[in-house]
Symmetry: C2
Subunit: 306 residues, 2 copies
């Protein structure tokens, strides 16, 4: 029986709240944790930030009542494919001279929202939406897409909560935090990921799924990975105290990083041979000309190959 089995095990896990003991995993999340970005392959800097964001999130999503909601939310968060946008948010903050902790809540919120979004997208695939047969009496029924959708719906507000409570009135950060909430809401909403997902479904219904149309691929990469990485870098810059020029330069840098990652996600290793990707890499590095110091090398590791 593949199910959350929360009714049967929640009491046990209340006394032993480690996810390493999570033996009863939801169906949807049993896919391997595929790394869809170049982050871990290429840069120990990116990987170290991602590890820190995950540690922060593991503390932030408490295993507390209602366990029936918190436990699968915790599990879904760390089962989604990795994405380098949250790490880029922290890297942009550090480039500006901010501390890692200043961008940690925003990066964690973005990590949560992206995990919810990618898992939601899987549920949008029609054959996943078929309801499961009603379980026999006495059998745990807390499984299937109906519950997955509910738990995903809990992850998004939790992201906004994390961000809003990170405000430190003594440091006069409220304005920056509110601006970042607007940035995230736009990137994750109707002008961002949702629009890209909608277009993705329409494109997938074309002959060959649009996979041979480079202009279509470029547009998809820009609207999806590009938009999210642009938002991530801009948020890091805002939280690090950047001026408007720096914010816009980092937004553009993030856009190029994201488009390159979009190509990588769609085309794999052969992406290096594509002229457009070389061009994007040069455009990205040009945006960093404005900045100085060791952190320039670190943030450029998001696009420079091994």
């Amino acid at each position: 029986m593949a199910a959350y089995c929360l009714h049967n095990t929640s009491a046990l896990r209340l006394n032993n709240p480690t996810l390493s003991s999570f033996s009863c995993r939801p169906l949807l999340c049993q896919v391997p944790r595929k790394i869809i970005t170049m982050c871990r392959d290429q840069s120990s800097y990116c990987a170290s930030i991602t590890a820190e964001i995950e540690a922060h999130l593991k503390q932030a999503i408490p295993l507390k009542p209602p366990l029936t909601v918190f436990e699968p939310m915790h599990h879904m968060t760390f089962s989604a494919p990795l994405n380098s946008a949250p790490a880029l948010c922290v890297a942009a903050c550090e480039l500006i001279g901010g501390s890692r902790s200043q961008a940690m809540a925003a990066a964690s919120a973005l990590y949560l929202m992206l995990a919810a979004s990618v898992t939601h997208e899987k549920l949008h695939i029609p054959n996943r939406l078929k309801p499961k047969p009603k379980p026999a009496p006495g059998v745990c029924s807390a499984n299937g897409p109906m519950f997955d959708l509910m738990f995903l719906d809990a992850m998004v507000p939790f992201g906004y909560e994390l961000l809003a409570i990170s405000d430190d009135p003594d440091q006069d950060t409220s304005g920056r935090v509110l601006r970042v909430i607007v940035e995230l809401a736009r990137a994750m909403g109707s002008q961002g990921i949702i629009h890209a997902q909608y277009q993705g479904v329409i494109v997938s219904q074309l002959d060959g799924g649009g996979s041979n149309n480079i202009e279509l691929i470029d547009d998809m990469c820009r609207k999806k990975e590009g938009r999210v990485h642009a938002c991530a870098a801009a948020c890091g810059a805002i939280l690090g105290g950047a001026n408007e020029e720096e914010i816009e330069k980092l937004r553009k840098y993030g856009l190029y990083v994201g488009i390159i990652q979009g190509y990588t996600n769609r085309l794999g290793r052969k992406v290096k041979e594509i002229e457009r990707v070389v061009e994007l890499r040069n455009l990205a590095l040009k945006e960093l000309d404005h900045f100085k110091g060791q952190k320039v090398e670190e943030i450029s590791s998001f696009i420079v190959g091994p």
Copy 2:
């Protein structure tokens, strides 16, 4: 063909952006706009606030590109059953001495989130999750639960965006707005509506759907309608500049209003005969003892019968 038909009509509607001309409505939203709360029946005060929130939202959700996302989002927002919690948010702000406009963004955000939540809940019902057959070539395919889910996902971040952009730095409101974002995120998330929805599904699988168990009904009303109305009233109080004692009194008032409305939603008119509802009404009115003036009468109209 019942569908959004966005591809065919978006150009037309770009030149004629009124929703009154919306003739091609999504399947999910063709249910009548059932009034599930007592708001419109009982109180012109509540109804006038609700009308103002809707007018505010109609301006706030622009019919702009991408119309494929904004248009159904607009439609879904105003097709969901009405809920009196957003109006209570404004009423609490006015009771404290604040202006209607101070709570308008929060009330609008709550209106959006509740519309998304109730529509999502309908989609959770298993037989609505069956995918539609693939349309014939050339036929508009932008219909069905897959797209409904996407557009609903866009409504929640838009709510947070509305709230965050409402901050007026000149009025030093950032701290209040951030606090309201936390309140809303908790009420709409894992400790609020999502937990109540989860419990609702579990209870519905009991013999008779738990409809004869008054303790179970009370618990459901408290966790769902009670939690949301408590949050709404507390948010209005925060934005109106209430002190902590006043915020907690209005939170309790909202809780009782919400529980009563929960009973009404489940039991209809016969709710007036239930001793527990009389008790809740008295408890609610007691919380208002602390406040003075004409606005006490207005906010008490949320629970006093015609």
